[in-house]
């Protein structure tokens, strides 16, 4: 089983090990401050940050920004199979297959997409980190058992896992988020464990042990806080992939049962039936997903590089 999920494991471990090499302080600046400084000068990181900020603002102020109610079927009686009215007075982007305002749905959709991204990432993070801490803090047979369990999860096709989780829990927005989180758990677990192992071997941990500091205090007071940065970076990335996963699960009919509630992934999946008559119904949510995914990824990538001493120039 050691080979199962090797790819992810090694990549994650390498990342974690790198974070472990971080020296404390750089020309008198703390690590985070120097990283932040470099991020501020990086146009790519700024682009990412601006995208994410706009996304957050839209989600926060959706009721103010949206011109119409997102669930009212305004133009239902004008819809015919094969004809969906396009852009017109009061409906700048046109309406969807049930006569609802597309623009308002996109604006409100940012809320559900954000919710799904955040909740599923946090869920994956909490469970994954607990497993990682367990393995990383105790080592030995605990490590072996936990990691073997994680490897088993990694060896089953992710989508198949997600499908069965949704089916077992019954469909709801929460089970959708859990299904997405399950796929993230092994990644966070491995990442944190690898990072903690690297920290445990670092000079300060050895020194603390030599000084007789209690093990628990070393682990939770020093090792864990110093191991978090690769996990945080991974979390920003998984915010984006969660939205894409949600689209795939909606496409397979495992999305939010309250399908009238706008969410980009579900909107994109639902638009597949109308591609021949109104491709815009798919294109707009797809664009939103791509832009937001890029925003989070760019920010996350650059954050990782900024935190990595190798990229200091």
């Amino acid at each position: 089983m050691t080979a199962l999920g090797n790819y992810k494991r090694e990549r994650i471990d390498a990342l974690a090990a790198r974070a472990g090499q971080l020296p404390e302080g750089d020309a008198g600046l703390s690590l985070t401050r120097s990283a932040f400084r470099r991020l501020r000068r990086d146009p790519v990181a700024i682009t990412g940050a601006v995208i994410v900020l706009v996304f957050l603002l839209v989600a926060a102020f959706a009721p103010l920004l949206a011109p119409k109610d997102p669930v009212t079927q305004y133009l239902l009686s004008e819809i015919r199979p094969g004809t969906i009215p396009g852009s017109q007075e009061g409906f700048p982007l046109g309406v969807d297959n049930l006569g609802r305002d597309l623009l308002s749905r996109l604006i409100y959709g940012s809320r559900q997409s954000l919710l799904i991204g955040v909740v599923s990432t946090v869920l994956g993070l909490v469970v994954g980190m607990s497993l990682g801490v367990l393995a990383g803090a105790f080592g030995g047979w605990v490590d072996t058992v936990v990691m073997r369990f994680v490897d088993i999860i990694l060896s089953i096709p992710g989508l198949l896992m997600a499908i069965t989780v949704s089916v077992l829990l019954g469909q709801s927005q929460l089970s959708l988020m859990i299904a997405i989180a399950v796929v993230q758990v092994p990644i966070f677990a491995r990442l944190l464990r690898g990072s903690m192992l690297a920290q445990r071997g670092s000079d300060y941990a050895v020194a603390a042990r030599a000084l007789g500091v209690r093990k628990g205090r070393i682990v939770f007071g020093h090792v864990l806080p110093n191991s978090l940065s690769p996990v945080i970076v991974q979390a920003t990335l998984s915010l984006a992939t969660a939205i894409i996963e949600a689209a795939a699960l909606s496409y397979l009919g495992l999305g939010d049962p309250d399908i009238a509630r706008p969410e980009w992934g579900a909107m994109l999946a639902n638009a597949q039936d109308f591609l021949s008559i109104r491709p815009a119904l798919a294109v707009w949510p797809a664009l939103c997903i791509i832009v937001v995914a890029l925003g989070f990824t760019l920010l996350g990538e650059r954050l990782r590089e900024a935190l990595d001493p190798k990229f200091r120039r």
Binding site: M1, A3, S155, I156, P157, T164, L168, L268, Q272
Partner: protein
């Protein structure tokens, strides 16, 4: 080396046992059993009871499990309720397609990913750098069912250059030997059949390759940047070696080591089946079969396929580890 291989293979046994128990319990916990799946709208409580009795699904779980296990050790995974044929037969028919698709997807990801990642690193911080990272991410950010639609719209419907789905043109009467369609075409000298099978692989391979592509671009870029800062590169530069030689002998070669691991292991992941990609491309591989199987509650197929895939997965990773040891003299396989 031999001991290493034997040990790794022996480790398979507890893994497969554990996995089989988990799978068995997990699948049977799903609501709506095979009887309901087989009967659909026409199911009545009596018919479901009759079905369960005939198929031994009314027996206690452990009885069913040990019957399954007893057969499985003889490599008999039972018979698919959906196809009415032995699971191993279905696997041998579907797995070659997935292997072909995986190889093509990886070819695409490597062929595009390594040059792109290398260029991005050489022009670190430039427009090209950002563009290649962003570009490789766009494919990932479009859900595959929509990406498949767009690819087909452009290359199959509008341009007519490539076939949009399936594994081979149904009008071609090709001979099947191994179920690797490209290989079969070459073996039987049916060149048109082989070429047609290749063309059918292009679009699904692109759709499937976008994720490894994005990873390879990033890993290549990162490891080239790592290597450029190494002492030996600085030394080589200092002693006046031509830049091209430094790049070829030192940078590319050393940077490719982590990339090759990624490639090997990513291949392992793709082999376990691209569920959505195969389904939307009507491509008969293990991924689409597994998806149908979960919907039909075809326990025999799910159990058999996942266990066989776990074996394949371990073997692929074993190969990767061995080849990694051969590539890099510093790594000794223990």
């Amino acid at each position: 080396m031999l001991r290493f291989i034997v040990r790794r293979l022996l480790q398979l046994i507890p893994i497969l046992l554990g996995l089989s128990v988990l799978l068995f319990a997990w699948l049977r916990a799903l609501p709506g059993g095979p009887a309901q799946a087989a009967l659909g709208e026409r199911a009545t409580p009596e018919a479901i009871a009759q079905y369960n009795e005939l198929f031994g699904l009314d027996e206690p779980l452990y009885v069913q499990y040990f019957r399954f296990l007893g057969r499985a050790v003889q490599l008999d995974f039972g018979s698919s309720t959906q196809y009415g044929r032995p699971v191993s037969e279905v696997f041998l028919e579907r797995f070659p397609g997935t292997i072909e698709l995986t190889l093509f997807a990886m070819l695409f990801a490597i062929g595009v990913g390594i040059p792109l990642g290398y260029l991005a690193a050489r022009r670190y911080g430039s427009f090209l750098d950002s563009a290649s990272v962003v570009g490789s991410l766009i494919g990932v950010a479009i859900p595959v069912f929509f990406l498949a639609y767009l690819l087909r719209l452009l290359f199959a419907v509008e341009l007519g250059w490539l076939p949009g789905s399936g594994r081979q043109d149904v009008r071609i009467d090709a001979t099947r030997i191994t179920n690797f369609y490209v290989l079969d075409g070459l073996l039987t000298r049916e060149w048109d059949a082989a070429w047609d099978a290749v063309l059918h692989l292009v679009l699904p391979a692109i759709a499937l390759g976008t994720i490894p592509l994005a990873i390879i671009v990033r890993i290549t870029r990162a490891s080239v940047l790592d290597v450029v800062n190494e002492d030996y590169v600085r030394t080589a530069n200092a002693k006046g070696l031509a830049m091209a030689t430094v790049r070829r002998r030192h940078i590319i070669r050393n940077a490719l080591l982590p990339v090759s691991t990624t490639i090997g292991l990513q291949t392992g992941l793709l082999l376990s089946g691209a569920v959505l990609t195969e389904t939307v491309f009507a491509f008969g591989g293990v991924g689409s079969t597994l998806y149908d199987a979960i919907r039909f509650r075809d326990f025999a197929v799910l159990q058999g396929f996942i266990l066989m895939l776990a074996v394949v997965y371990v073997l692929v990773n074993l190969l990767v580890d061995i080849s990694y040891g051969l590539l890099d003299p510093r790594v000794r396989v223990r």
